[in-house]
Symmetry: C2
Subunit: 548 residues, 2 copies
Amino acid sequence: MSWQIEALKAKTILEASIPTQWLLPKDKLPPSDQKNVADFPRTSGLFTDRELSITDMSATALVKGMGAGLLSAEEVVIAFLKRAVLGHQLLNFATEFLAENAIARAKELDAHYKRTGKVVGPLHGVPISVKEHIGMKNRTCNAGYVAWVNDIAPEDALILQCLHKAGAIFHVRTNQPQSLMHICCTNNLTGTTTNPYNRALSPGGSSGGEGASMGFRCAPLGIGTDIGGSIRCPAAFCNAYGFRPTMRRNPTQGIKSPEPGQEAILGVVGPLAAQSLDDLELFQRAVLDASPWDSETSLVPLPWKRVEEKREFTVGIMWDDGIVRPHPPITRALELAKSKLQASGIKVIDWHPYNHAHGWDIISTLYFPDAAQSQKHLLSQSNEPILPLTSWAFGYSRATPLSVAEAWALNVSRDEYRDEYNALMKERGVDFILCPAYVGVAAVLGESQYWNYTAIWNVLDFPAVVFPTGMKVEDGDVQNGNEMGAWRARSEVEEREWRKWWVDPSRYLGAPVGMQVVGRHFKDEETLAAAKVVEEVVCGLEGERKRV
Amino acid sequence: MSWQIEALKAKTILEASIPTQWLLPKDKLPPSDQKNVADFPRTSGLFTDRELSITDMSATALVKGMGAGLLSAEEVVIAFLKRAVLGHQLLNFATEFLAENAIARAKELDAHYKRTGKVVGPLHGVPISVKEHIGMKNRTCNAGYVAWVNDIAPEDALILQCLHKAGAIFHVRTNQPQSLMHICCTNNLTGTTTNPYNRALSPGGSSGGEGASMGFRCAPLGIGTDIGGSIRCPAAFCNAYGFRPTMRRNPTQGIKSPEPGQEAILGVVGPLAAQSLDDLELFQRAVLDASPWDSETSLVPLPWKRVEEKREFTVGIMWDDGIVRPHPPITRALELAKSKLQASGIKVIDWHPYNHAHGWDIISTLYFPDAAQSQKHLLSQSNEPILPLTSWAFGYSRATPLSVAEAWALNVSRDEYRDEYNALMKERGVDFILCPAYVGVAAVLGESQYWNYTAIWNVLDFPAVVFPTGMKVEDGDVQNGNEMGAWRARSEVEEREWRKWWVDPSRYLGAPVGMQVVGRHFKDEETLAAAKVVEEVVCGLEGERKRV
């Protein structure tokens, strides 16, 4: 049996699931060489004003609207489904539509509201897109591997159970890369997902389908997973919001992974949002209010705290991680952020990174302690081709599995590094770090090779929030003089990453600029609250982006 | 260099540290064949009434006394030091006395109190004995290995820093077995510690020096560590209190172990107390009020909660773990507990253990994932003889190290087992489990081979409290008819363990009977509160034991 025949099953499931009534004939779609399609819903005339309004609303606003009887859950989910079908035609971001179930659930919610005058919970009627490897009862779950194309999830993942209880509706499942270890989104099952702001660019990864879903507003909220940047890069690449919580807060039961039991570095599950940081918090509170630790005992029983949005904190700006200097649009955005933060009275100092190369050595080894044998075995089971970015990721792996004693030594290094970094932040009086989410804006498809602006916070297990600055790469950025000048790369890695910008900056036209706010271990609530303040200062004054 | 010469260094440090002014001439000591020496301080005439009163007080009462100006920290620490020196002569429980520092610190505390009229913290002037492998700045730390006899700790362990800040005084360091993996207390450095209630019996282990310290009242509080029962068995064997908290609550920085970085099963550090459960809580609150997670980032930031001592809970009594039926004194104590609990209106049902053999398979493999190579390497470094109970423990190890993938599979089994056990308690409506702390009362020296009445709660990571029932093995227990009768052991293991009782019950004369109360993961505060209620019912009505 050839892998292609197996892989076709995933495509068949996807295609059979698309609600055809909302498919646009091919000749009405923008030409395939039109890169930026983010505005197509508005300019196409396909959507009513009400549908456009609905799909521009935050989850928070939608729940308010439904709670006030101004919106029905059914019309909301239909508007987003319609937009998602179009988004899929343009970006190939879905792996399965759940239209029938979603609409039925919306009708139930509407009936409940009609009967009681009340919403069922804090996410009443909110459509949420879900990364494919988060298991859904009685549906396939392949996690990007052809070998798993027939696997059926026995239960809904625990996080879905929590969100369902809060009233959420799951209307579409989304794409991920082979191995889940690309900051990009290509697999041998349903292909490549692209970026709504520039279809030659990556939507990020591994939650790339979620990035596209948020960027095109196919849902107000999405669920991704992150072990090295897989929530935050898609958010940054696609003009969206993303949150990587501290490990062992959100439930991971029922999420499929090729390394179950690997716990030296845990992937986390968390939200992406299309419209606002408030929605990330709404999501977190709904999940933790369900006390998931009561059944998934490896979680820490920490309810989501209410914290004040204070302005009395110190932000350390990290301009450069000491390894690869960010591309010019990122640095310019940080400069603008700095001046606005200072003008608003927030204390800002420079953050000098603490040995990020060491942090990367630790985490990149911990990604594949078994020399990626579990992943390679899975790939060989189906005989599917190993994609270039999969090979790239496997390149971080050592040639042979770690011994138990070597793994322990790495754990010790990891804990020491965490404690040292934590102590340094306290010593320098820095509460939060503002830094790039990636070395540049969205990578060109297939070129996302440098992970350490996000992965560093995974090895440290620091909560991290990404928000869009409202800035985009424009002609001005592209036409700037050659800033390379006398600059010389510190390493081959830096040379490689810089070349990606300078070879032709126009490749990035239209790409949004995101930013990352990072806090100390378990300071999830404080970090999200600080990110709101930073965002308000950086974006609010700019006036380019509203908070819905 | 022979291992004996190296080992002698530990003995030299110990002997040089003994405050000779309190040494009793050998001819005044009870004869070496006198087994029970627990009452010797009272009957010997060596202590003033005031000294006896002080050493009979709980930490809670001592702090109250010092806070009211009725006691000085100096007289308190001197009374306990005096008792500890005698205890050491009788039981060989110390590895190093810290008399000079302890008295100097007591004087500082007294001066502070004189100056301010206030205590420095909740443990003001409380003498605490400390298991040797908990590092003390600039002192040796051998963790029971001759190879480490020269190792110097660079800092005080974080838990000592927390306790010091709260006002505690460390006056004596205590013995532990070779490898830290015996429920007994013998090493090649300072020898064997014995049980104050019967010197032919073990004080338990691995915190055996702490067991003896509590049993002989050499300190109101002690610090032990526990990865399979090492706090709880010494407490149970020595008529004392012990608490095994959930992992990642108490700080472990600076505690020496041969497997740093091993985190599939973590040893925990926690208190033993001579007088009361309240003292265990006093200790826990003092440690967690110091926010140790602020520097040891692998800890969970959960402050010690205040919970009410309610009586509305259900206790499941576990009579038997399904593998080895407990010895008759234990069963009789449980029967008495059951009737008293029922009489007091507390809901009691039988707890049927859930696959404890499976739990043991998991944890016994996780003790030595590297096939005990790290331990064996340490032993071979000094060439010290491997003691019988060390070989016994190594017998649980597999012949070859686990591969990374095998270790992951075990982690998955462990988490599934935890979730299933947790779900079962919820399903059966059982809040707390009351069970033996060990298959019998204190083991005969060298015979403690069965760990699973305590280790099962380590694999489950459930908090567990041991308290003394006030009952002791008396002639009546010994003269009871042969209860074996038609009974047939279910296995060789059960046969082996039962034989230890029936071969000659009189071996256990004088041994106290402890009991264990267990709660769900992270329900530390609730479990300790429930244990107080259970203890009050089981012991208070009995009138045999006071709560000070």
